[in-house]
Symmetry: C2
Subunit: 847 residues, 2 copies
């Protein structure tokens, strides 16, 4: 090879050449690393992003000089080298330099079939990728016919100058990168608008011809589990990725009873590959997938890429690399994206499976389950009694459906949003759930579900519910099991070691509390007491309370609820022993506890021994135009103070009882929907009075703290004065987002998709915390809260709390902890650990 | 009289004595002024607030010295003198000093009847007011019986020492001031918690005895109209206010065909009174009511108070005083409270009338009307056809009721809030309206309305609706007519001369625009286009649009709405010629245009030729959990851009047409419910494109401005970037309040009363702008908006815009104008003028 190259335009990849990922792309850099490790990589030249940009705009490099970098009459390949391999790029083109003359010469040295294969592949690629001709016209094996077809379509013979061929290939690939669809595709994967493309030009290792020649792909761990296992294929007389793209004749790599293997065929080459693999892992510090070619018995390594893998495999690989001392534990933590974790926590539909979608909706509770369709809670219970797994399909659910939801293994509803009854309860039960599936049609009378495409499903038909993606699939789809032990636990332990912000869970029931504990949440940050009343027996008592005619009657009914609530809190305190439990006083409007359907109203009238007319009237009187903005939260607590009195008493009595055998429990009581200081004063006065009474009655002292859930913009603005009566402020970002935007989460579904698509909102603010708007309210609230009470505890308990970006924001604002749903706890722990590590790294290596 | 008085305890009122309103009270000060004017006021001594406070706590002044201030054996009266006469005080006590001995002596000089009258009055007052005995025991004319009754009740004879009598009276009056009910009463009238009471002790002018003796009250203008007219009564042989408290024998003051008069009886005294009245008016600069006594033909002026009057009279009096050069125009403006103006704008139930309340609700649209009850729109139309005024009484109204509302003269609904359909439409139509009258019960089947007290009203029964107070009254109540000409216009003109902030009106219809123009609004600040679609014919087209299956079909339907909208805007532009008109693009969720009842759905299905099932389904699909936070405003504009396209076209075509004959119209287009910058960019791009198209099609150039309605907290926080595409920001404080508090105005009614009562909110934030919270959002939005665009026009168009305190806030923040409902325009003009005058006065007279 010549030594004096045009360094500005292209760079020969040598161990010391100035190759950089952000100038030449990931593939060029990776090839340099392989070369440094002494692997048999054919000669390769890298074209920088700038060069490729020039090519796209017509300024070509010196093609003769470029070709001159290689040996006499080289055959070349060109491959894309974008900064991040995930951003894609045009397909590789092989065998550039094949001409009639070279074909004739190679027919003599390699034999006609090999020479034909080389020329055929090049003509086909060139015609379709470079000249943009119809692939169907080039669907033949015959070289003469291919050349004729080209000349017929293009009115000129197939180009016979290698310089012209290479020029055309480079220009075509440079321009393809600028095409709209390529641009949209990579931007969807996070590429910046000005992402560059590099190209690598490599001398061909042929893979065809005499002696053992062929190509293959090898990887050293299982892409689904991350466990060590050599997989891949080898195909004699082939090039590129032919061995893995379904061409017949491909063989296994390791010795295999099912057929021949490379290990049998070329034991030395196989051994060399294993050696190369080990070196890749230890020196490139990653599990790679390696593309290799054998030419007349000689091994070439053409390329290596980070092994594509499922999330669970990525965790196992990172942990194994760290345990083998190849990377640090911090590095392992940084290698796992928190967003990928949920895949590990629930059953999932195998992403490699083809999906037959019956209905689309809102992914309300993650996980997947396969079962028979049932259209009523009654049918769900019968199905459960027969031990037949079933999916409950309803228009929407109401408290009457609780039993059916317990019996089902998944819930699908036609209506509703993220905070609908079905969604909330399913998340609580850990059931996969899809709501608002308005693309399907339910006919309750005929008991049929009509899919988007018109197919009709009946009770008993099997579907698979994918609550992670928000889809229902026809039939039984293959499911992946959760992967939350071993490597998962190890990794989170490492993240915890670095973490500097607390992670609690939102948990309402003992089952959720146990999940929270299992995921090592550091306490409960939000226990929504209302869900405790949806149990059938309590619901009846709750309704009696709502229909009570006087404060006295109401107090009598609440007296019956007291022991139930006390038992609830005792259960939570026992499960969370030693950790804080923050209990939010009753929040939802009372009408949520009343039936809606005619049947429910009839039952209620009978249960209360009241005329149906009276029941209907009361329900109508309680109904609201905008329940989200109505008589709920602390407003209820002030209008009917007996309710909060009862809840406070239950909490304190449970505190006394749970503290008898073990460490004292210190409950936290949170007031919802506050918008004015006086609301807090009024509730605090009564709660303090109840505490004093319980202390006297039980002769036991205990402590507790009382705080405020900041859910209204006004509470954030007035945090200074509100903090004067609150030991803690916990920001409920769900409601805060609803109110900052004037946008109901339950109603936003109708247009949120198109809003995000059109870039009106960069992201759905209910999924990703809106830093600009809601975030400012949090910042204001935190600053003013601290001003009002310097030792105030600040936290966030909306669903954003499990989102890594929101956690970064909360760390920056100086919150004490985040509290998210139990299944988001691992995500939050990992995200928080990563942030702390990144900060430390940035401090140690300032830019 | 002696000269050396204890100045610290009591002060003789002389022209130069140190008497101050804030030390001795208004009555003492007024008496000093009368004395200065040389009027025949009997000797009077003032006791300061401090002295009265001392008396209440047991430290009495030297009573002998006090009595010594007057002549030999004086008879005295004691009257309250609080700082503001409106704050009340204990009743006057006359004839102190009457004893058995004095009674015997006076029987000789004045005659027994006069002496009896004096003693009787004193014993009765003393027994009831000072000794707190049962009035029934003193219901006799006989002096002996009265004295016996006293002795029987008190186990001691009636006190015979004038010193003791005066001491007891002073102590009793001082203590009465501290009583709880007196305190609550005056605090309700705005008195501070530490308001003091002064007392005046005056030598009696007797009014009984030989010669012409008696007492009376005179005023010089009509208390209801403010027009010059001498009214009052005189009663011979009487004291105090006997002449006007219904005692028989009282005569007119001026010569009157109905009977004898003081003018006939004592022409000289009558002439003196007229002279005194003139002097009061010119020197005290106020219309006074004067209390006088004639003793043996000699006139005494005992007291004068600012004439109690209706709001309309107050305006006339202030204007007349200014026109007569007695006070300045600024002073006249400051004398009329803006809050009193609404009484002048509509018919009102005469406040002097006893009210028989049938139902209580929300005062949704002011004014009063008397008519027959009808329970359906159909009945309302039939009644109107018979020219019988009717009040439409409904559970709630829907678009189907529009015709009925047009036919009725008042609307009463059982449900709904300030923004319910009934309320909004009634305000638009200028009809008195009461909504949310949940204390009544409607039975639609029996066509009955059951009042709070169980009385049943039927169709055809007459009621009076008081939309100003939110009440329905039984039968026909006397109504006062509006008073909006003459003095009213003059006063507002003076306010305008001082005013330094613009006042526009919110007006949706030509009728409202005409009202706005009549009240001299400086343009329309908010034209809500949605109300234009509730007309029956358009509603049908609107519904077709909602049911359109494709964008093409939708565009075709909108094509039919275009000429109607264009005509709407032409009408508005013509009425408002020369003034700006700010048109808000469609805001409400589409389901507001759909019927709700079964009958409406059937009609709609027939009109659209669709199966009922499809119609029901579509209505259900469009229904929302929280419509306030749903698919409305700019969200609708972005999801279905054809609607805003049509509206923009209608606006521009109307602009071109209206500009043809006269000054060019410069419309303002406002985008509702913005929460993100990109929303504005998207709408702006389309509106600009429509403008360009209309310019080309019509060959006419025109200008317009595009702005944003800031209704979400996020829009306020992001005003900087939003302002970059907005020529103006108009703050919609209704929605901003709803979102800052997380509180729906329609649902707040259930607890707002008790919230305000318990002091949770100092005021209903929908009535009075919440300066602390919502106000901060306005301040932030204004600052950031100006930062984003220094020449941005800022305004407020929520219903707070008509509230004087909110206007003060908007002036302070530097808004260009406020825009309120047409009938609030006079209030806003007056309030803004007063603020400017007060500022100027404060600058000229710094404290």
């Amino acid at each position: 090879m010549q030594q004096h190259i045009d360094i500005a335009k292209f760079t020969e990849i040598t161990p010391t050449a100035p190759i950089a990922v952000n100038a030449h792309g990931g593939r060029a850099k990776c090839l340099q690393r392989l070369i440094r490790l002494g692997m048999p990589v054919p000669d390769t030249v890298a074209l920088s992003f700038a060069t490729v940009r020039d090519i796209a705009s017509g300024q070509l490099p010196d093609i003769n000089a470029l070709i001159g970098q290689f040996g006499e009459n080289p055959l070349l390949s060109v491959r894309p080298s974008s900064q991040d391999p995930d951003w894609g790029g045009p397909g590789a083109i092989l065998n550039i330099g094949m001409t009639d003359e070279r074909h004739a010469a190679l027919s003599k040295t390699l034999g006609a079939p090999a020479a034909d294969a080389l020329y055929r592949r090049f003509i086909q690629s060139y015609a379709v990728e470079v000249a943009h001709l119809d692939p169907d016209s080039f669907d033949t094996e015959d070289i003469g016919e291919l050349l004729d077809a080209y000349e017929y379509e293009m009115d000129e013979p197939f180009p016979q100058e290698p310089e012209r061929q290479l020029t055309d290939v480079l220009r075509s690939m440079a321009r393809a990168w600028d095409g709209t669809s390529a641009r949209l595709l990579r931007q969807a994967k996070g590429a910046p608008a000005d992402a560059g493309l590099g190209l690598v030009v490599q001398e061909m290792a042929l893979g065809v011809g005499p002696g053992e020649s062929g190509s293959g792909v090898i990887q050293f761990v299982d892409a689904a589990t991350g466990q060590p296992q050599i997989t891949g294929r080898y195909l004699s007389q082939s090039q590129g990725r032919d061995a893995v793209t379904g061409e017949s004749g491909a063989i296994y790599l390791t010795r295999d009873p099912r057929g021949p293997s490379l290990e049998d065929l070329c034991p030395d080459i196989f051994a060399a590959l294993i050696e190369h693999g080990k070196m890749c892992r230890s020196r490139l510090r990653e599990e790679m997938q390696v593309e290799f070619t054998i030419q007349a018995g000689a091994l070439s390594i053409l390329d290596a890429v980070r092994l594509p893998r499922l999330a669970r495999a990525n965790v196992a690989i990172a942990v194994a690399l760290a345990e083998d001392g190849i990377i640090s534990q911090d590095e392992a933590v940084l290698r796992v994206e928190p967003r990928a974790l949920p895949e590990l926590l629930h059953q999932q539909v195998d992403p490699r499976h083809r999906r037959d979608v019956v209905a689309n909706g809102i992914a309300a509770s993650p996980g997947a389950a396969t079962g028979r369709i049932v259209f009523s809670s009654r049918a769900a219970q019968q199905s459960a009694a027969r031990e037949e797994p079933c999916i409950l399909v309803r228009r929407e659910t109401s408290p009457e459906d609780i039993r059916g939801m317990h019996a089902a293994i998944g819930v699908l509803t036609e209506r509703g949003g993220m905070t609908s009854h079905a969604a909330v309860i399913a998340r609580g039960l850990g059931l996969p759930c899809v709501v608002g599936a308005s693309t399907m049609r339910l006919n309750r009378r005929d008991k049929t579900l009509t899919a988007m495409d018109g197919r009709i499903f009946r009770e008993g038909d099997i579907i698979t519910l994918d609550g992670t993606r928000g889809e229902a699939l026809s039939g039984e789809a293959p499911l992946l099991e959760p992967a939350i032990d071993g490597a998962f636990q190890t990794l989170l332990g490492w993240a915890d070691a670095a973490r500097d912000i607390g992670v609690r869970a939102n948990a309402d029931t003992p089952a959720e509390a146990r999940t929270a504990r299992a995921f090592a949440a550091e306490g409960i940050g939000l226990c929504r007491t209302e869900h405790m009343f949806f149990d059938e027996q309590r619901l009846t008592v709750m309704r009696e309370m709502i229909f009570a005619d006087s404060a006295g009657e109401r107090a009598a009914v609440l007296e019956r609820l007291l022991p139930m609530q006390r038992a609830d809190f005792i259960a939570l305190f026992e499960i969370m022993r030693g950790q804080p439990v923050c209990i939010r006083l009753l929040d939802p409007p009372l009408h949520e506890f009343l039936p809606s359907g005619r049947e429910g109203i009839r039952d209620l009238a009978a249960a209360l021994n009241l005329p149906i007319h009276d029941v209907t009237r009361r329900i109508e009187a309680l109904s609201e135009f905008n329940p989200m903005l109505g008589m709920r939260g602390v407003r209820l607590g002030i209008a009917i103070p007996e309710i909060y009195d009862m809840q406070a008493r239950a909490i304190f009595e449970a505190t006394v009882e749970s503290s008898q055998d073990g460490a004292p429990v210190v409950p936290e009581i949170m007031i919802p929907l506050v918008s004015a200081k006086r609301e807090v004063e009024l509730v605090k006065a009564r709660v303090d009075a109840v505490a004093a009474a319980v202390r006297v009655e039980t002769g036991t002292d205990f402590t507790y703290s009382l705080g405020v859930m900041v859910e209204t913009p006004r509470a954030a603005l007035r945090a200074d004065e509100i903090a004067q009566n609150a030991a803690f402020l916990s920001f409920g970002t769900n409601d805060l987002t609803q109110m900052a935007y004037g946008l109901s989460r339950d109603d936003a579904g109708r247009f949120m998709g198109s809003y995000v698509q059109q870039g009106v909102f960069a992201e759905d603010p209910f999924h990703r915390l809106d830093i600009d708007g809601v975030g400012e309210l949090l910042t204001i609230g935190a600053e003013r809260g601290r001003h009002g009470r310097p030792d105030i505890v600040l936290s966030i308990c909306g669903e954003h709390a499990g989102d890594p970006d929101s956690i970064a924001f909360c760390r920056a604002v100086g919150f004490t902890y985040v509290s998210c749903s139990p299944f988001r706890v691992p995500v939050a722990r990992l995200a928080a650990g990563r942030l702390a590590i990144e900060d430390r790294n940035a401090r140690n290596n300032p830019a």
